[in-house]
Amino acid sequence: MATPDKLDLLRGTLDVLILKSLSWGPAHGYQVASTILQESGGVLLVEEGALYPALHRIEKKGWLEAEWGLSEKKRKAKYYRLTTEGRAELARRTQTWTRYATAVTRMLQA
């Protein structure tokens, strides 16, 4: 697999990526980071230093809720799951982001 250039995340996009990655089902922190890397075609690398505070912050806002469970390797892991509010927030942010990105793209290609 070719390794494209890794991009630094723009501020505020991490939250929406986390929400998106959890929209497919509950996951623990490591899975969230891997999912984002994979689904972005290996472009978006989430630093652990940013990931966990972001998870906790979003959990505090009530968009995520957490539960302890066992991983496939029978390790104790903290699983995050989107709440209803989180789902609504994801929809809202996706819309905003798309409009923003479309506008920027159109401008840059004009």
């Binding site: 623990h28 922190g29 490591y30 891997s34 630093e47 652990e48 230093g49 966990y52 505070p53 906790h56 912050r57 959990e59 505090k60 302890w68 991983s71 390797k73 390790r75 104790k76 892991a77 903290k78």
Partner: protein
């Protein structure tokens, strides 16, 4: 409480261990590194390198942990708070449901709280504006009023030359100003408007910390005798009412009885001093005026760094100096410094307020006790519910909180209602403008007042919620006995005999009766005083007399003309159909003007100086008011300026100055009257020209200044002492608008430029004299009535409760053959014992506290047997009734039903 959502429950479990999130974070991060290591191994790394790489990629683990912890901590705090709020909300919702469940108790409790807190708040708003808040002047605590005094009196005004001397010499006083009084008619349009004018010093406004809102004040030059003094400053009231707030009035001339004044300024709305002033003009005091012409109100600002005592000491010296220089007029005269506040608010008002505040404080206490009582009764009824909750695991603290919340809910509803009540009461005050409340316009329900209401509300809430709460769940639940209490109480079906509940309630009811007794006695004493004041024989007949205030312009009427015009006016009004008598005086009964003067008796020790009221009257004055001439004769038209100066004195004065009596000689006075030896005596009245006055008559005493005592009064014929301002007294069976118009027209037939205000019945001045007493009495009576109702309802509730609690016992007694009547007697006796206990305690308290009322009482001491008797009789009647009504139920019990109900 149905449990609808599991999440809050889980949250509570999570929160059980404070700081649990720390371990969770460590676990989560460790897990991440382990997963990453595994992933690397899967890609072919060797385990050690994989682990090292995972940790390296992870970065500064400590920093991550720290920022996660911070978030965790915030979260824990907010959840804890949310949990608490959740519980409080549950309590409130549950509490409201409980209050709705027993509406009669709730309404009774709220009503007593609204009345108690409302009355207290309304009264506090008055006390705050008058007694607590400083006067609405700059640095009001350094403002003083200066009086002149001698051996007899200490509240005389000052003369112009004295004032000028004080002003020039005093160094402990930063500023001194004086105000006089003048009434002139504004004749710019019809009908002429009579204005109360205050001639004031140039520094007068500044002394109070005020500047004109428009234009300027007076200059020192305008305030100089003989200076350009024809300038005026308008009060805001006059500015708005007569000139519609037209700012161009400044600089325009005003016609005041033909004297042309230029308006130079308008004062702001919040400056109204003296309160009656429509207009201010420069005082321009005359240094050559008579020193015994006391006509100025002197106010002063004590210099910074000096005390009132120092100012008093300095003024004592200054007075001594003036007396030495002018012994004829100033011998024996000193100066007294008093705080402005003391003068404007008055000790009598302050005392009334303190009495009322104490009374209303007792009322609030009573309301709280009453509510506590209601809550105990309900607490007993709810014992089953509470023991059920305890059995289900509600902790003692949680139950306490629940009951306290209910209590506070009641208190808050009562408090809000109380503030609304107070607001209404203050609006009523502003509507009726009772004159006995000084600075009424500053009385408001403001932030401080609301804070006060809040404090009272919370205090009462805590008081009345704690007592029953502790009683309901308190002692029963000592450590380890909670469950036993719960089961035992449940087993009994929630019916416990609760001897404790009854004795606590009995104590509370006894307190209620005691407080009610105290208030009733206080109110009774004041009411007695009020009735006595109403019945005071004033010595004159005020019914059917109208009063018209006349002010002759001094520059248009010379000294002689004034006397003549008075007589002409009297004649003109006498010709109005229906008028049976007319007279006039320069100071009508209970009017604002109360002249007094010093006098000596010719032929006696000239060091003996006496003070008396004096009046300049027309010959028909005594007839108009039906004041009997006891000796000698009344004035006639012959007592004019060129004739011998004469005077008539009041009986009290004659009795005191000529105590030796002998049988009246033939022809002197009424047959059989005693002769005082006063007739023919000569009085040195210090009048200009120095001719002594000959006493030609003695009239009966008249209480026209102070209802509570006879004063010395000296009457002068108006032609010998003509006065430009006087009150025309018209006696007639007629009244109404047409009659008043005819009187006005009669007055204008003599001088069309005279302003005549609405005619007012003389009786209204008399009512004004007792207004303060009336209001205090009415308020205290109101408080006492409420307290009696509260105490009676407390007793009623307790008795009803006792009957219900004792159904079984009473049923057994009846079954065993007790007569229903004897059961009623037994129950009533129990209540009456409490009432008597409370009544005795209240009476003892009243005897101890009565001396605080002494200053407000007249004709009765603090220990008035009849008042105490009436109060106790009333109390006994009401309390026995309050016991008897519920006790009758005991007689109607059917033992068969009662016993089977078990």
């Amino acid at each position: 409480m149905p449990i609808t959502r599991l999440r809050p429950f889980k949250r509570l479990l999570d929160l059980r261990r404070r700081g649990a999130y720390r371990q969770a974070i460590d676990d989560e991060l460790t897990f991440h590194i382990a997963e990453k290591t595994d992933a690397l191994i899967a890609r072919g790394w060797n385990p050690e390198q994989a682990r090292a790489e995972a940790e390296r990629a992870f970065g500064d683990a400590e920093a991550i942990r720290a920022s996660c912890r911070e978030i965790g901590q915030q979260r824990e705090r907010s959840e804890r708070r949310r949990g608490w709020i959740d519980e409080a909300r549950q309590d409130v919702v549950f509490g409201l449901r409980q209050l709705r469940r027993s509406p009669s108790t709730t309404v009774a409790a709220i009503l007593s709280l609204v009345l108690g807190i409302g009355a207290a708040t309304a009264l506090f708003s008055v006390a705050h504006a008058t007694l607590i808040q400083p006067l609405p002047f700059r640095d009001a605590d350094r403002l003083a009023r200066l009086w002149t005094r001698n051996a007899e009196t200490d509240d005389m005004q000052a003369s112009s030359p004295d004032f000028l001397d004080w002003q020039a010499q005093a160094t402990t006083i930063e500023d001194m100003a004086a105000a006089g009084f003048l009434a002139l008619a504004l004749t710019d349009r019809e009908p002429p408007l009579r204005l109360n004018i205050a001639p004031v010093s140039a520094s007068f406004f500044r002394l109070f910390g005020f500047e004109p809102a428009l234009g300027r004040g007076f200059t020192a030059e305008e305030d100089r005798h003989g200076g350009p003094s024809d300038v005026a400053v308008l009060s805001h009231r006059l500015f708005v009412s007569r000139f519609q707030g037209d700012r161009s009035i400044v600089g325009r001339p005003l016609d005041l009885d033909g004297r042309r004044m230029t308006v130079v300024g308008v004062m702001p709305e919040d400056f109204a001093f003296p309160a009656w002033a429509d207009l201010w003009i420069p005082l321009a005091p005359n240094p050559g005026a008579e020193r015994d012409d006391h006509d100025l109100t002197v106010v002063a600002r004590i210099a910074p760094g000096h005390s009132f005592e120092q100012a008093q000491a300095e003024l004592d010296q200054i007075a001594a100096g003036i007396a030495a220089a002018h012994p004829r007029t100033n011998e024996g005269w000193g100066i007294r410094v008093s705080s402005l506040e003391h003068w404007l608010i008055g000790p009598r008002f302050a005392r009334s307020m303190y009495v009322l505040l104490a009374a209303v404080g007792l009322l609030v206490l009573l309301a709280a006790v009453n509510v506590a009582n209601l809550l105990i009764a309900r607490g007993v009824a709810r014992r089953h519910e509470i023991s059920l909750r305890a059995a289900l695991g509600a902790g003692r603290g949680r139950l306490m909180r629940q009951l306290l919340t209910e209590g506070l809910l009641l208190a808050i509803v009562g408090g809000v209602g109380g503030v609304v009540f107070a607001h209404g009461a203050v609006s009523l005050l502003h509507y009726f403008e009772p004159s006995w409340i000084p600075f009424l316009e500053t009385v408001k329900v403001n932030g401080r007042v609301i804070t006060f209401a809040l404090v009272v509300t919370l205090a009462t809430g805590i008081l009345f919620a704690t007592v029953p709460t502790r009683h309901t769940i308190g002692a029963r639940q000592k450590a380890g006995r909670g469950t036993r209490f719960a089961t035992r109480s449940l087993a009994r079906g929630g019916r416990s005999a609760t001897g404790r509940g009854r004795s606590l309630r009995a104590a509370l009811v006894a307190i209620e009766v005691a407080v009610a007794t105290l208030l009733l006695i206080g109110a009774g004493l004041l009411f007695d005083t009020f009735l006595r004041l109403q019945q005071v024989d004033t010595g004159f007949r005020s019914a059917g007399v109208l009063l018209a205030r006349i002010q002759l312009p001094t520059h248009r009427y010379s000294w002689q003309e004034r006397g003549l015009t008075g007589a002409q006016l009297e004649e003109a009004v006498r010709a109005v159909p229906g008028v049976t008598a007319v007279g006039f005086t320069n100071a009508s009964p209970f009017g604002a003007f109360r002249p007094t003067n010093s006098l000596r008796i010719v032929g006696r020790d000239q060091g003996e100086v006496f003070m008396s009221d004096w009046r300049a009257i027309s010959p028909s004055y005594f007839d108009t008011l039906d004041i009997p001439v006891l000796e000698g004769r009344a004035f006639t038209d012959g007592d004019h300026g060129d004739a011998q100066p004469v005077t008539i004195i009041s009986r009290a004065m004659a009795d005191a100055l000529w105590p030796d009596r002998s049988a009246a000689p033939e022809g002197a006075g009424r047959p059989g009257a005693e002769h005082h030896g006063a007739i023919g005596a000569q009085i040195d009245w210090g009048s200009p020209g120095g001719r002594p006055l000959t006493v030609i008559g003695v009239v009966d005493n008249v209480r026209d200044v102070d209802l509570t005592r006879d004063r010395w009064t000296l009457y002068r014929p108006h032609k010998q002492l003509s006065w430009a301002a006087f009150d025309l007294l018209v006696r007639s069976p007629r009244q109404g608008e047409a009659f008043e118009r005819e009187i006005r027209e009669a007055i204008w037939s003599i001088d069309p430029d005279l302003p005549v205000p609405t005619l007012q019945p003389l009786e209204s001045s008399l009512r004004g004299a007792t207004e303060g007493s009336r209001s205090t009495t009415a308020l205290l009576l109101g408080f006492a009535s409420i307290s009696l109702i509260l105490a009676a309802s407390g007793l009623y509730g307790l008795t009803l409760f006792a009957v219900e609690q004792r159904h079984r016992e009473l049923g057994i007694r009846l079954a065993l053959g007790a007569r229903p009547g004897s059961l009623v007697t037994m129950i009533v006796r129990g209540g009456a014992r409490l009432a008597i206990l409370g009544g005795v305690a209240g009476t003892i308290a009243a005897l101890i506290l009565a001396r605080f009322l002494d200053a407000l009482l007249y004709g009765t001491g603090g220990v008035d047997v009849s008042v105490y008797g009436w109060v106790l009789a009333l109390l006994l009647t009401v309390t026995i009734l309050a016991c008897y009504l519920p006790a009758r139920r005991a007689a109607r019990l059917d033992p068969a039903i009662t016993l089977r109900a078990e």
